[in-house]
Amino acid sequence: MSSELIMTSVDSDQEAKVVVSGEIDIYTARQFKEKLYQFVDNSTKDIVIDCSDLDYIDSTGLGIFVGALKKARLTDRNISLENIRDNIRKLFNITGLDKLFIIR
């Protein structure tokens, strides 16, 4: 019911992984942006974002993914997205962002 957003992250020797669950919209976006950008800046590895429990994302949220990717690319890294639900996958297709990210 409530559109809270939870982001947890692990930056170990093996991987740099972010798990997002809940809803990324104009309300939760600012907090998410800060956390994600910080994670990208602090890590040195390719980044995996697990979207299994991401219920909803709007254009603000997609813009943040793009912003994070641009940051990662500055140091020759990539961002891949995992377990995206169909309704959200649709948004990546529509906007062409499916060609920007590694989606698996």
């Binding site: 019911m1 559109s3 809803e23 919209d25 104009i26 309300y27 709007d58 254009s59 997609l62 529509i94």
Partner: protein, 134 residues
């Protein structure tokens, strides 16, 4: 269901209430018979407009309204808000992600209405069996 029902929701121009708009639109769209995927699409499109209105409104003291016009053939959703000097809320961003999503999910979108009491209007048709000689 009769041919022209109207539902109106008035919300503060604050990000925290866009989720309320999403729930309301989901309720309306599913009640009037759209399938679950289409309900989701309409919800996403409405949410994009709400976010945009909040971004351009400039003040969280303002309010905006979402009008649902329900007829037998389509659902029309119009938005009104008193936003000074702005007629096209997606101006300079017509190729942005928000507009791309709205265009993909709705059947018709009126972005910059002139001399209307709404600032954006969009329509989703109920699927009808084509009689185009197919």
């Amino acid at each position: 269901m009769e041919s022209r029902d109207k539902i109106v929701v008035k919300l503060p121009c604050k990000p925290e209430y866009v989720s309320v708009a999403r729930l309301t639109v989901s309720g309306v769209a599913s009640r009037i018979g759209f399938d679950i995927d289409t309900v989701e699409d309409i919800k996403v499109a409405v949410s994009e407009v709400c976010s945009r209105i909040i971004s351009v409104a400039g003040s969280s003291e303002k309010q905006y309204e979402i009008w649902f016009d329900i007829s037998a053939k389509k659902l029309t959703i119009s938005f009104s808000a008193k936003i000074e000097r702005i007629n096209c809320i997606f101006e300079d961003d017509e190729d942005g992600l928000g507009a791309a999503i709205i265009n993909a999910f709705m059947d018709e979108v009126e972005y910059c209405p002139e001399g209307k009491d709404y600032i954006l209007s969009m329509t989703k048709n109920f699927e009808v069996i084509s009689c185009n000689g197919l």
